[in-house]
Symmetry: C2
Subunit: 293 residues, 2 copies
């Protein structure tokens, strides 16, 4: 890509994730914070009806509603189907004001700390490398696969999702608010340098956590939970989990151990929104990536 013309900052794709929503509201009240000389910055609250209801979504998860065939299917009429088409018609490649980069602001009940979720396109890896250089506590989670990923950011190849936690749904915590705001400002500063051809040079390696699958809770035939995240695993996102280590605890106090063949690094452990998706945690493998400059 030659230069960035337009950046989109999105909050409230999920209506009960307050951090991003209030960061976007603040930026809208103080537009000078996001004005830059060499590109345009837009802000957007993606699911205002879900925010008003303090729910993740009204009819279906907006962040699973951007499958190309679904966007083209005008018979789909749920609130989020309609909203996804509107968003695509605004900011997608053929939209009214197509954007080059999306920063998508989320929060999680899992202990994700400051996580940047993206894929391994060079531009994206360079962006998160820069942001991590300013805040070494940031985790990089490579989670997006083009064939399976139908989130809002899939309408645009570049950018990242900011995922902070642990914070409950429907709660605003000042520390995560400030950290999210700082990440957005730093990213905009980066785009400004990028457009000037002044990209700083870094060590050409980056530690990432690459998505490899998910694990569901133990359930009975009716789908009812039969166990909980083991207390030893709760809040241990990004920590190694070796075969044979505790993963679940049944209601009767029996420990269930991880049965995989090699050490993995779980994330999104005990995320509230994933119970209904059949996900107790996502599994990643830790990798070092080289030569992406």
């Amino acid at each position: 890509m030659n230069s960035i013309q337009r950046v989109l900052i999105v909050g409230g794709v999920h209506g009960n994730e307050f951090t991003g929503i209030y960061v976007v509201k603040k930026l809208e009240n103080h537009p000078y914070l996001i004005q830059r000389d060499n590109f345009e910055t837009l802000t957007f609250l993606a699911n205002p009806k879900a925010f008003a209801a303090v729910r993740r979504y009204i009819d279906q998860d907006l962040n699973r509603s951007f499958k190309k065939s679904d966007l083209q299917d005008l018979t789909r009429s749920s609130y989020e189907d309609i909203r996804a088409r509107e968003i695509n018609n605004l900011f997608g490649a053929n939209g009214k004001t197509p954007v080059d980069v999306i920063l998508d602001l989320h929060s999680s009940t899992a202990n994700m700390g400051l996580t940047l979720m993206t894929d391994d396109r060079s531009f994206n890896l360079q962006l998160v490398t820069y942001l991590q250089s300013l805040n070494p506590s940031i985790n990089i989670y490579l989670s997006r696969k083009s064939e399976e990923y139908f989130g809002l950011p899939s309408i645009c190849e570049l950018g990242c999702t900011i995922e902070v936690g642990a914070v409950p749904q429907g709660v605003l915590q000042a520390d995560f608010f400030r950290k999210t705001e700082a990440l957005v400002i730093n990213a905009l500063n980066y785009f400004e340098q990028y457009n000037r051809g002044e990209i700083p040079s870094f060590d050409k390696s980056l530690t990432v956590y690459r998505h490899i699958g998910t694990i569901d809770y133990p359930r009975n035939e009716s789908g009812e939970l039969q166990a909980m995240i083991h207390p030893q695993l709760q809040f241990q996102d990004y920590q190694p989990l070796a075969p044979g280590e505790p993963i679940f605890l049944t209601f009767d106090g029996e420990t269930i151990t991880y049965q995989g063949e090699s050490t993995v690094y779980p994330v999104f452990i005990n995320e509230a929104a994933y119970y209904e998706k059949g996900i107790a945690m996502c599994l990643t493998q830790k990798e070092i990536i080289h030569n992406f400059y």
Copy 2:
């Protein structure tokens, strides 16, 4: 009261507070855990429709639906109005199986630790004193005033609400599950001793936190939040807050201090369910109660 005939253990008054719901499910699957020689124990899931929807309530807060005049008003027809009448007709003083004691299981996004909420009737103070003697980390919160309190437990004078946290809505955490279960079992053991006239004797003083009021978030004319809980106050439930100490942080980074006249002890700080009620925290005063045996 002479002897306890029937005890009710309630979970899921709020459908997204999973701890109590899964404790009740476990006890229903293992009834021997709650069978005692000298009284009957019942279990009940209070708002199954809200649990299925993973929401606090469907139409209105069930735990504010037990006002006597509302229970008698048969024209009231919200899901929770109907449910409250059903519950009162089952377990209330004139119900089918009236209960003498209620243990009501809740969770909070605030850092409530293990809290027992009750009032200052001697029976209730003696019960929580016994439970605290087994687990000194328990906090006693005297929150119920008969004129203002319309929760489910108001259909019965005796018992307590168990409030654990911080845990997000829609999340089950194993440690709070086990602690809540232990509290229920210990309470049943106490009732058994009570009926036998074998109440253990304790120091006749008890430290309690008595409810004295609430504080809302700073808001604009439209009701929109203008500030967050100050990071120094987040998670500091049951800690002293003196006049002049930080309480809120505006989105622009300005600190707002507590303007009261004396030191208070906030609880329910940043409880998700209280944003809509206009409550950023509840204020208590710390007291030592004597002579309740």
